[in-house]
Symmetry: C2
Subunit: 242 residues, 2 copies
Amino acid sequence: MSSERALGSGSKYPPKEPGVLRLYGMRFCPYVKRTRLVLEHKNIPYETVNINLIDKPDWYLQKINCLGLVPSIETDNDVIFDSVIVNEYIDSVYPGEKLIPNDGRRAAKDKMLLEIWSKVVTQYYKLFYPSGETNEVVPNMLSALDRVENELARRDTTFFGGDKPMMIDFNIWPHMERIVHFDVLVPGFTLDASRFKRLTSWIDEMNKVPAVKKTKLQLDSFKLFMITVKNGKMDCDAGLEE
Amino acid sequence: MSSERALGSGSKYPPKEPGVLRLYGMRFCPYVKRTRLVLEHKNIPYETVNINLIDKPDWYLQKINCLGLVPSIETDNDVIFDSVIVNEYIDSVYPGEKLIPNDGRRAAKDKMLLEIWSKVVTQYYKLFYPSGETNEVVPNMLSALDRVENELARRDTTFFGGDKPMMIDFNIWPHMERIVHFDVLVPGFTLDASRFKRLTSWIDEMNKVPAVKKTKLQLDSFKLFMITVKNGKMDCDAGLEE
């Protein structure tokens, strides 16, 4: 697939070459980025097929993901969807250093942290799709973020996963990266480095990780995309040349 | 703890005896039942402390679960919350036959099924807390249930887990058990056995499982509870004698 353009209704299923791992995505979707980060970090080759999320292809709903979400991955034998499930699958099935702790206690604690993180994400999307209570969203998001800051302090490690990034870091990163650039949505927004000391230093460290660098948010296109979202006409191809 | 009464704000943390596994629950919570089923099925002894979910104890939020949800479990060393995470932890840390497939592909497929199931659950709660579109909720719930019926047909097994109940069966069961008794909410509701042939036979088989029998929904109390929910004053102690 040489084009990044999103496939919509009326498109045909692009035939897949055997042996090639395919990632179904959307260029600005943070959940898709969770999987891109893991694929890049583990050096697993893959191709991307982007899906138009407001005008989904029938073949995607029928053949790949009945829930119509991204990411999904397709191998020669399997179709797996949901970012967390896809990433667990990749970690379990593909060779290389494991990103999910083997220890049941540590694994549970990372999953609990992701639940706590999901409360930050819930607030984040309220700003995407405001429904009246906009004034409270930023404070609520920061309060939810306090819990994550505290957890990193409790762990007392550079990354959530320890001295190197693990699955929990890659699953948290994509929304965090967008929150850093929240001034796109909320003029003047900055993340207070004294309130979020640990998180600020984690962000600095994550920005040095090759997989993070390689998948860095294209800010110009993201801004164009956000304008289309705010206008109620999400353009999955925002910023692409004709 | 000899009382089933829910602890609310103003209560004190009930000191825990070392070596005893504690389950924090609420008598009518299907998520808590997911964990009860697994504890019963694996014959793991535990005590229950019920939490008043509309008047939560401060100690619960501070010490056990900052998100304030049930179930949580407390061991001598760990506090784990979220039904799916708790159940994975129990399956991983306690001895006995494993309920989660070791194989990464099978595990991923069960997790995807639970995501599909969650769409049924979303519709279920819309009837609990109606917000206008009540007429569409039952058809939407049944359409979501079709996907689950199809998945059981695709697997062509008695249980979702194969020829015996596995974690996926126990995680699905508690909401299904309530849907069977949906006439409490929607007078006249029945599950059409010809439309849901596989699910109907799965329900019959599940009803024979000792852990399912032991945790069977107390219908009289549940009806009393549902009336309080519909009236906007959830009574976690509904049906208990003074």
